[in-house]
Amino acid sequence: MNILTSPELARFREEVRAFLKARLTPELVAATRSGPHVPRPLVARWQGLLHAQGWAAPHWPTAWGGTGWNEAQRYVFEEETALADAPLGDVLGLFLAGPLLIAEGSEQQKARFLPPILSGSTFWCQGFSEPGAGSNLASLTTSARLDGDSWVISGQKTWLTGGHEADMMFLLARTETQGRPQQGLSIFLVDMQSPGLSLRPILTMDEAHSVNALFLDEVRVPGDALVGTRGQGWQYAKDLLARERVNNAQAPRTKRDIVELDRLARTLQGPTGTPLIEDAGVLGTLAALVADFVALESAVIEVIALQVSGLEPGPIASTLKIRGSELQQRVTETAMDWLAERAVLLGASYGDPSPDPAARGWTERHLFRRVVTIYAGSNEIQKNIIAKSLLGM
């Protein structure tokens, strides 16, 4: 018995399964399975279905459209949607922009921006990193200066996931040049159609366009585009990234991938024509992945139990991010190993997937997942956090 296995949660799980069975379409499932990037129209359609059910943003406060579920219910929801191959929603809007606005935004900002995130009609991107400010985010140089009652922003941003599909961006810029680097930062809400703003696609190693570089040349935004208090942007960003860390264990999606890997081992044949799963080495590899997943899941459950009892997990979440992202990579590495030749043959044109249905999705996920140990605070940064904050080193 643990926090995820109570009879109440079992009933809740059934409710989620019934919803998924009724509303999740084969087209959405196929898009989710085909790789890490689901096109915006399909994500929006799924978000609309969730919204109609009242489940658009389970983790938001009920006053802004949340479901009132506790962390355990939310985890079960994520687990079931992952196992059913439902798309993720607009992660940037639901997990970053939305919570940022709920915590720090003005009433007008909340009223204007939160409802379209729920319905899936507005998508968001994040303008934090810069070519010269990655892990050392506080060294960023994009500047915002007040000119009358509007702000004028200039600089360069990078790694904008979904920037080319987004309507809005939350952006971290320097509003002060005095004091420590952390002190002079502020967050702005920027319309992606603003004059002076231009995007350049960055192709990632999976031959896909999901991230972008952004150039801001005297982009003018209204005074009320500032989030919260001027100069408090660093604190807001830190709070935001800390919330992201528990989420970034990605345990439910990894569970789904291991289940899929098990299926792959039953489908593929070894050199002697017998199913791969009958090979002792393959079985051992699979068992080790399951064991390491359950160890991760157990640590996640402990954090959820803390949250359910109203406590903040704090830097311990860094351990989840490290182990969760490593495991994500190991799963697809294993699939690539088993698929072997079938995983390295692609269609004739750039961006074409593998012609082999067994390999489809694995190759793309494998290549794109090299990023999971780097983004959301690289694993090296997470280890620094553990050493400094938890171990006093």
């Binding site: 018995m1 289940v259 399951v290 160890a295 402990e302 553990i386 050493a387 171990l391 080193m393």
Partner: protein, 348 residues
């Protein structure tokens, strides 16, 4: 048992372990091995610890598995020689079938060993057995042995007497054990369903491992902050910080697995042999000892440098204890072969 009451038990245990044959003293004379203090069993009984896991109905204190695991972890952190972990987890399993033994177990008059035997044969008249066990984990003064047989059954047999031949031996970590042979011994076959005696004993080793690794981690962290080379503390170097962060991740997962395993053990005790109850986490937690905890302790030795490989320092003894914990009662590969997607990812 109330947690506040149990905290007093833990405080008393901390004092007793620091005073009675403490680890530091045992390290002063490593050739002697980790030997039980002469007063150990009478102390354990008089402090009531041996009765902790039994229900009120049979005169016990009804401590929960989670509480017992914390006491076991404490014993692990002191690398205690007396088999407290085994008693706390296995004795209540025995008492559920033999309530009449509770009092003698609580008083330390009955002392259990646990062993796995590959060779158990019925003698010609059928009622007696011949058996052999290479490792009987438990006190050298054990009175009874729970013998896990190849067919899955468990026999309670005498640990001494004319039909028993006991050969003293040591475990890798310096604890005293025995190899045993039984000839024509009359077994008491235990009709238990649910998780086996070996699985219960394996749980004890997992709980012990959490205490051992945590103590080894704390010791190393302290050393790294104290030890200075090239004018700065070892802890100030990022290469070292990152390796400690890695071990910390393993330690957190181990503790989380222990917590979940203790929860399952509580369910097993409440529901008895109900089909929904089982120790699903056990093969994962037990294989974690060999797959993660032991290599993590190896890292701690590496970080400690030369002192880490000497038999005069705690760390080597922690490492060797983990090696024992990994090997006994279902080794790493055996436990891993019980782990599957169907059983552990999609149980419902």
């Amino acid at each position: 048992m109330d947690n506040s009451d149990f905290d007093m038990v833990l405080d008393a245990a901390r004092r007793w372990m620091a005073k009675t044959s403490p680890l530091a003293d045992r390290l002063m004379d490593v050739r002697r091995g980790h030997v039980e203090a002469p007063s150990a069993w009478s102390d354990l009984a008089s402090m009531g610890w041996l009765a902790l896991p039994f229900s009120h109905a049979v005169g016990g204190y009804d401590a929960t598995p989670a509480q017992l695991f914390s006491l076991i972890a404490l014993a692990g952190s002191h690398a205690r020689p007396e088999p407290l972990a085994l008693h706390l987890v296995v004795a209540p399993w025995l008492v559920r079938q033999h309530p009449d033994m509770a009092e003698a177990l609580a008083q330390g008059r009955v002392r259990l060993g646990v062993a796995r035997s590959d060779t158990v044969q019925n003698t010609r008249n059928g009622a007696r057995i011949n058996a052999a066990a290479a490792v009987v984990l438990g006190s050298p003064s054990a009175t009874h042995v729970l013998l896990a047989c190849p067919d899955g059954r468990c026999a309670l047999v005498d640990a001494a007497g004319p039909q028993v031949e006991a050969t003293p031996a040591r475990l890798l970590d310096g604890r005293c054990v025995q190899s045993m042979q039984w000839r024509g011994t009359e077994p008491d076959w235990l009709a238990a369903s649910g998780p086996s005696v070996l699985d219960h004993a394996a749980c004890a080793l997992v709980a012990d491992t959490a205490g051992v690794l945590e103590a080894a981690f704390a010791l190393t962290l302290d050393y790294l902050k104290t030890r200075t080379q090239f004018g700065s503390s070892l802890a100030s170097h990022q290469a070292i910080q990152h390796r400690m962060a890695e071990v910390y991740c393993d330690l957190q997962q181990l503790k989380a697995l222990c917590g979940r395993l203790a929860g399952e053990m509580g369910t097993v005790q409440q529901q008895g042999d109900a089909p929904s109850s089982g120790l699903r986490m056990l093969p994962i937690a037990k294989s974690f000892v060999g797959r993660r905890a032991l290599p993590a302790a190896g890292q701690l030795i590496q970080l400690s440098g030369g002192i880490g490989v000497t038999d005069e320092y705690h760390l080597a003894h922690y490492y060797k204890r983990l090696q024992v914990n990994a090997a006994l009662f279902g080794d790493t590969q055996t436990q891993l072969s019980r782990v599957s997607v169907a059983d552990h990812l999609l149980p419902d």
